[in-house]
């Protein structure tokens, strides 16, 4: 006795849809620019420059808050948060660099 396959009654096995790699595009926001070519010193200087810029913005808004020229409260709080996080980030990068330097200095020579 033979049992015929279920294909004969119209069953189509499921084939998962495939996507060609060319059709998959980055949705933006996750694109990373490589820092190749810039030295660590430049990276740190850039970081400090940016820190200065955000702190400047935060300071300006703080003055506006004090003089009553501030239109939206959240403008200041967001700027202050940004300044604080940027400061923490810059310090973290500096600490990590110092750690690396000390690690190298502790290397036995000869």
């Amino acid at each position: 006795m033979s049992v015929s396959g279920i294909e004969s009654i119209g069953f189509q096995p499921y084939v998962p849809p495939t996507m060609s790699p060319a059709s998959v595009t980055a949705t933006g926001g996750t694109t990373s620019t490589s820092a190749a070519g810039s030295s660590f010193g430049d990276l740190l200087t850039d970081g400090i420059d940016r820190l200065e810029a955000v702190q400047d913005k935060s300071d300006k808004l703080a003055v506006q808050a004090a003089t009553g020229d501030l239109d939206d409260i959240h403008d200041y709080t967001v700027a202050a948060t940004e300044a604080s996080v940027t400061a923490q980030l810059t310090v973290a990068v500096r600490n990590r660099a110092l750690e690396a330097f000390n690690e190298i200095m502790r290397m036995p020579i000869g």
Partner: protein, 130 residues
Amino acid sequence: MGAFDILRISGSSMGMHQTWLDALANNIANVNTVVPTSETAFQTQTPIVRSVPGGGVEVEGMALSDPEGRMVSDPGNPMADADGYVRAPEDDLATQMTQLVMAQRGFQASVQVTKDAQDIYRSALEIGRR
């Protein structure tokens, strides 16, 4: 400033909700503002918003309610016309209060996103810390 996109986006949301709340405060303040039938009624403002392609939201403009308003019978009012009618704003207090709740909750949600963003940044800074 890619690293602070969460702050920028939620900041734009807070800005939009702030504008909405400002408009609602004005609408609610004028909910009992009636004018003689010969004049146009107070027009309530509702912000028209749109999403920003790079993320965020912005106020595109203000929609004004019908200047015809509602005809209210108030014969005792010194501004009433010969038939005893005055012109009241089109939108009533209930509509405005409902929108006030929506705007307030929207603003609070954006504040919460900002708080969470701070936590996220803090945990990112924790990476590798000893």
